[in-house]
């Protein structure tokens, strides 16, 4: 369970997030919707320690991940992130993108990592592209690779920034089903989306970014 407690974040002296609390459970999909510039991406960046919060505390299963004062670098991997533009590593193949972190950090042997990547890529129906470089993939394929790369670390929470913005209706639906199959492995999902229909169909809860500032 992810607990965000009294989070505060200013950007250029303006409050983007103030006294915001949210709990995300395992096997739960939470969508964040709201206006452009309202701090949705910033919120997800704070969760992933790419931006430092000004106030508050974030806990995962009662472990303090970080507060505004300190951040625990090791805890980082428990929260995964799929960037809006995926940020796959262009010099590595699909499979190498997936196995890089577990191998470099010695979390898995090379063989174990490759087996696991095989499994995930198969599950995401992209295993035929294992040996291919990212630039040869379509947007939707890149997205699935980015998801596989994040899932390799077995995060407890997976964050996705506007995952459906580049998908057509049908692909988005398939993507929604994919999310539902992902959370079955005790993962919680936080996603930002502009697609209200998608959010209503596939998430357990919708949070408006107006709540970042406690507006209704």
């Amino acid at each position: 369970m992810l607990e965000i407690d009294h989070l505060g974040k200013k950007m250029n002296g303006i409050d983007l997030i103030k006294d915001f609390s949210l709990t995300v459970r395992k096997r739960e999909i939470v969508s964040i919707v709201g206006e452009s510039g309202s701090g949705k991406t910033t919120f997800i960046r704070v969760l992933n320690q790419l931006d430092v919060p000004d106030e508050g505390q974030i806990r995962l299963d009662n472990d303090v991940l970080f507060t505004s004062h300190e951040s625990d670098k090791k805890a980082n991997k428990k929260i995964g992130l799929v960037f809006q533009d995926f940020q796959l590593f262009p010099n590595l193949t699909v499979k190498e993108n997936c196995t890089l972190s577990p191998i470099l950090n010695k979390d898995l042997s090379k063989k174990e990592a490759e087996l696991k990547a095989d499994e995930l890529l198969k599950k995401l129906a992209i295993d035929d592209k294992q040996a291919v470089y990212p630039k040869e993939l379509s947007g939707g394929q890149k997205q699935r690779v980015a998801i596989a790369r994040a899932l390799m670390l077995e995060p407890q929470i997976l964050c996705l920034d506007e995952p459906t913005s580049a998908l057509d209706h049908e692909t988005a639906n398939r993507f929604g089903e994919l999310l539902i199959s992902i959370i079955k492995n005790d993962v919680g999902v936080i996603m930002i989306t502009h697609d209200l229909r998608f959010a209503e169909t596939f998430s357990d809860r919708i949070v408006s970014s107006r709540q970042f500032l406690n507006k209704s």
Partner: protein, 209 residues
């Protein structure tokens, strides 16, 4: 009779290649280190490097050569001809390479660094496996240009009285009152630069992912 000039020209070529290889092998990694420090190092080192690069790129290499070999002895630093040449060339070329690498490093999108961070990959490992290969790919064409320029620039060491290939050619041309040695030396340069261009192309293709 022209044939008798051949050994000295071949000897000159040997010296040219030795200088070229040595300078390349030292200045490329040095340039990379300078670039890394210029981007990530402390402020005062950044300034120092900016000044160093400004001086190296803003003055003629010929002057730098003369400064090292003829100038430094006045303050008690005397180098032999060849080490002096290598030293001056390395300083000069490392500056150019550093600027090229720096440009490549700044050109890698911040999202790539953030992706590494989110995946829990350390700076050092991330640089080695992800960032640097991208830098290499984008900078290879410019690096290649500099490498070819270096082949030709080595002829400048004639000013130190080093018998590189061009000087050997000129001596032969004078002795036999013939322009054949110049043509011959030109052909040698073309062969060397041709081989290097070919190799550079191959390397570029390999990184063309």
């Amino acid at each position: 009779m022209l044939w008798s000039a051949l050994p000295s020209i071949i000897g000159g070529l040997e010296l040219t290649l030795k200088l070229f290889g040595l300078v390349l092998v030292v200045s490329l990694p040095l340039g990379l280190v300078v670039a890394v420090v210029k981007v990530y190092g402390p402020k005062f080192l950044q300034r120092l490097i900016t000044l160093y690069i400004y001086v190296m790129r803003g003055t003629p290499l010929l002057l730098q050569l003369m400064f090292v070999f003829f100038g430094l002895p006045y303050i008690g630093v005397t180098l032999d001809r060849f080490p002096a040449a290598v030293f001056a060339f390395v300083l000069n070329y490392a500056a150019y390479f550093a600027e090229i690498f720096r440009g490549g490093m700044v050109g890698v999108p911040t999202g790539q660094f953030e992706a590494l961070k989110v995946l829990g990959i350390s700076h050092f490992k991330g640089y080695r496996k992800v960032i640097f290969p991208q830098v290499l790919k984008t900078t290879l064409p410019s690096i290649g240009n500099e490498v070819l320029a270096l082949v030709k620039d080595t002829s400048l060491v004639y000013i130190l009285g080093l018998g590189e290939v061009l000087r050997a050619g000129q001596i032969a041309a004078n002795r036999y009152a013939s322009l054949i040695p110049f043509i011959f030396v030109g052909a040698l340069y073309l062969i060397v630069t041709g081989v290097i261009s070919y190799l550079l192309n191959k390397i570029e293709k390999q990184y063309q992912i």
